[in-house]
């Protein structure tokens, strides 16, 4: 065996606190090491060339690179040794930077630790076996979860790229939150006017199969081969017959249903089409409020439907779709107003959220675009906007900034002035976050051209006084407390993860952070990928963001999917578990502990039941290996013998 050791200076990152020359000297003395050297930046092109040349020249058959964390460059160096003709798993990386030179200041101690780290790596690489990835076929269909602007963009890009797309949307129409907006910043474009064409494209594209009013029931499989169960919820209306004429809605006697699309600004009928531009434009019955379901007596909509589309007996249906990749674009939620008791949220009708105000401003909303106070429908003259209502507030568990509220408040202040020229808007803010193109100019416009008064300070309390509401805030720039008697108060409520975000994440086997937003592979470099191969993220489910960012992420996720589908087969990672059937006693403990369900029972020809690892599902976590009482199941590239070789190197020599 001829092991080559390459120790990286990494400029001053390693060489600053580690005596690399001494380390190389010590490495040369290690048993099995045929060659050891140091290099300034091993990951650079000349550095890699040097490794390849040395392998050929010195006839090395194993390589250890002592440098940064394998998370940085393991993939790079594996490719390098492979190009030089070795199996890529005859390579080990010793982390003498993040685990050594960056941790301590003492050169002597660090040098010693570096030597020991390399010793472990050398002993391990001597035990390594060649591993070969398996190839498997992929199903070039993609599932997009969520029909908001990010999901629709992803679906369209994938479909235009030639893939079959299955788009699953929870509510009865695509459009998401953007469909609820009146205008968008900073261009003040009409939101549904720019979104509508996308919605139509999605519904009419021959390669997109839209399942509206559906949710993901179950996901089985692995990248390239997923089996998805979709629950098509019962709408109680036969959509193949429904024409969206709206006759049922007019006649429905149940008038106090919660209107999800309008965030409860005004009540809806139990049978409803969410908004006029809905796609699909079909009616749905909310059984919670429908008298037919509650009392067993009504049937008015069925009587008046000209095509007989109502069907009270409809049941949920489970549909299966097979896909090769998944894009998650499930969007965001907003905190409930009653989480803000000091503002009277949920208690006083004239304290509303930003999205509710958006629906009031919208010409196709419940007030036909007339701005009126919920309490008495009067036109408000003094409107107060409160930024950071819940955001940046550690005390209620939302320490982060919600990204777009500063912008939409400026927009709403501008629109308010347009609608009611003699109105006065006040905006309480702590900071103004307007980083995008034209964003800062937009917020300045609100103050300079549209007369909005921006007050730097938070609001402490809101309470009623006669017909008005008193807003008690602070102006920290003036250094005083301020009070405003307002007619209407709009709270920029904090963005949260959707309330079923965590359950969906568990079905997908992806991670979510403490706020419920999905975790990307790398916050800077891999914002649309997850650590689960085959699952990609787009839009606000990954973190609060505005429309251009969501659209970008939708396209980015589509590009990622198109790139994995550019080949016909995918390679599986060979660092997975494998069962030695001679040793396996069939106790099935590994099957129970595998979090991915990657181990199954197998009956051998002699009748014995043993464990079998499904290669393509196994994620290589190693839990089975530590569970197995007889060491029959071993994680390849991290077998017991390989790991013990490292331990012995440290403790016995």
């Amino acid at each position: 065996m001829r092991v080559g050791v390459f120790i990286c200076h990494c400029g001053n990152n390693i060489a600053g606190t580690v005596d690399v020359a001494k380390v190389a000297e010590a490495a040369r003395m290690m048993p099995g090491v045929a060659f050891a050297t140091t290099y300034m930046y091993t990951c650079s092109e000349p550095g890699q060339e040097e490794i390849k040349e040395t392998i050929k020249r010195e006839k090395l058959d194993r390589v250890v690179v002592a440098a940064c964390s394998p998370r940085m460059h393991e993939v790079t160096f594996r490719r390098t040794v492979e190009k030089a003709g070795l199996n890529r798993y005859f390579f080990e990386m010793a982390n003498i930077r993040e685990h050594c030179s960056w941790v301590g200041e003492d050169k002597a101690l660090n040098t010693n630790k570096a030597i020991e780290t390399i010793k472990l790596a050398v002993e391990k690489v001597k035990q390594n076996k060649p591993l070969f990835p398996a190839k498997f076929k992929i199903n070039k269909r993609v599932l997009v979860i969520g029909g908001g602007v990010a999901g629709m963009q992803a679906a369209l890009d994938c479909a235009d790229g030639g893939l079959d797309v299955v788009l699953v949307e929870k509510s009865s129409s695509v459009g998401g939150m953007m469909a609820r907006l009146d205008k968008t910043f900073p261009t003040v474009d009409c939101s549904i006017c720019i979104l509508g064409p996308k919605m139509v494209d999605v519904s009419q594209h021959e390669k997109i199969n839209l399942h509206a009013y559906s949710e993901i029931e179950e996901i089985k499989g692995y990248v390239g081969n997923y089996q998805i169960k979709i629950r098509k919820k019962a709408t109680y209306v036969d959509w193949s017959k429904c024409t969206g004429c709206g006759a049922c809605i007019e006649k429905c006697p149940s008038r106090n249903a919660y209107d999800y699309f309008n965030f409860g600004v005004a009540p809806a009928r139990a049978i409803n089409i969410p908004f006029p531009q809905a796609i699909p434009k079909k009616a749905t019955i909310d059984a919670q409020f429908c008298r037919q379901f509650i009392k067993g007596k009504c049937g008015v909509c069925a009587k008046f439907c000209p095509v007989g589309a109502i069907n009270y007996e409809m049941k949920d249906e489970i549909v299966t779709e097979d896909v090769g990749a998944i894009i998650v674009a499930s969007g965001y939620g907003l905190i409930d107003l009653d989480k803000l008791p000091e503002y009277g949220g949920g208690r006083y009708p004239d304290v509303i959220s930003g999205i509710q105000y958006e629906r009031i401003l919208n010409a196709s909303g419940p007030t036909s675009g007339h701005i009126e106070r919920p309490s008495d429908h009067a036109e408000p003259k003094t409107i107060v906007f409160v930024s950071c209502a819940g955001s940046r507030d550690k005390s209620i568990g939302i320490p982060y900034c919600s990204n777009f509220c500063c912008m939409y408040i400026a927009k709403q202040a501008i629109l308010t002035k347009d609608h009611i020229p003699d109105s006065q808007s006040y905006v309480f803010y702590i900071d103004i976050r307007s980083p995008g193109k034209g964003y800062d100019e937009f917020t300045r416009r609100a103050q300079e051209e549209y007369g909005a008064k921006y007050i730097r300070g938070r609001v402490s309390r809101i309470y009623p006084k006669g017909k008005k509401m008193v807003v008690k805030g602070a102006d920290t720039l003036l250094g005083t407390q301020v009070e405003i008697e307002a007619d209407l108060i709009v709270l920029a409520t904090a963005v949260t993860a959707t309330n079923d975000a965590r359950t969906l994440a568990e079905k997908l086997h992806i991670s979510y952070d403490q706020n419920g937003f999905y975790v990307e592979s790398h916050p800077k470099l891999r914002p649309v990928e997850t650590n689960t191969s085959g699952v990609f993220l787009a839009g606000a489910c990954q973190g609060p963001k505005d429309i251009p960012a969501s659209v970008s992420q939708g396209s980015a996720a589509a590009a990622k999917v198109l790139s994995i589908f550019s080949k016909d087969t995918l390679e599986s990672d060979p660092q997975i578990a494998r069962v030695n059937t001679n040793v396996c006693v069939g106790c099935r403990k590994c099957i129970g502990t595998c979090p991915f369900g990657a181990i199954e029972e197998q009956q051998l020809r002699d009748g014995r039941i043993v464990a079998n690892v499904i290669e393509t599902v196994c994620a290589g976590c190693g839990i089975c290996s530590s569970t197995c009482p007889c060491g029959a199941i071993q994680l390849q590239h991290f077998t017991d013998n390989q790991l013990l070789a490292e331990v012995n190197a440290l403790c016995l020599t």
Partner: protein
């Protein structure tokens, strides 16, 4: 011009701009030389709160019922603390007029116990002899003196002690007829058996502090 009267009607800003322009409030502060880092650390240690957590949102000032009477609203006291302006803070009236009503602490989004910091500033001010609101201190002293001697508080004694020491001889004299004859006023104090034990607590505590009470 009666400073108290002007401030009473919210004229703090007027005062600082027109009446007392020479006072240090408006002069540029040389932060390199005039930041009292030791004071910041002292307040941090005594209060257990970190002023660096404050992002100056003003929520505390917005909800503080006493802002009108303060010379510096509470968020500015926090800002002065962040800037290490010991003299300005300890000379202020705000720290003496805070009622510890806990509105600020309850609503602070950064979870800072602001009322506790105000209390600590008041304690340090007393310790180092900065008393911007003498009457308030006189009242507290009268209360504690009563407690020290009787073990419990003797209300009439406090009022008499306050009136004499503060020079406001007729303070609350108008309330007398409203409260007399209803059995609500005792003219003799209730002395508990353990009043010497209470006195001991006062003595032991005084040993550790500069200003006696």
């Amino acid at each position: 011009m009666n400073k108290n009267l002007l401030n009473f009607f919210g004229g703090g800003v007027i005062l600082k701009t027109f009446v007392y322009p020479k006072e240090s409030y408006m002069e540029p502060i040389n932060l390199t030389e005039k930041t009292d880092w030791r004071f910041i650390d002292q307040v941090k240690k005594e209060s257990g709160q970190d002023p660096a957590l404050c992002y100056q949102c003003g929520n505390c000032t917005a909800g503080c019922p006493y802002t009108k009477y303060f010379d510096f609203p509470v968020s500015q006291v926090m800002r002065l603390l962040q800037a290490g302006q010991k003299e300005t803070i300890l000379n202020s009236r705000s720290i003496w007029l805070c009622a510890t009503c806990e509105a600020c602490t309850t609503r602070c989004p950064c979870e800072i116990d602001i009322a506790h910091i105000m209390d600590v500033l008041r304690i340090i001010a007393r310790r180092e002899n900065y008393v911007a609101e003498k009457d308030v201190k006189t009242f507290y002293d009268a209360f504690l003196a009563s407690m020290k001697h009787h073990g419990r508080v003797f209300e009439v004694g406090i009022l008499m002690g306050y009136n004499l020491k503060s020079g406001h001889l007729l303070a609350d004299a108008d309330l007398g007829p409203k409260i007399l004859g209803k059995g609500k006023i005792h003219f003799l104090p209730t002395r508990i058996k353990g009043r010497d034990k209470v006195l001991e607590i006062f003595r032991k505590s005084q040993k550790k502090r500069k200003n006696s009470v």
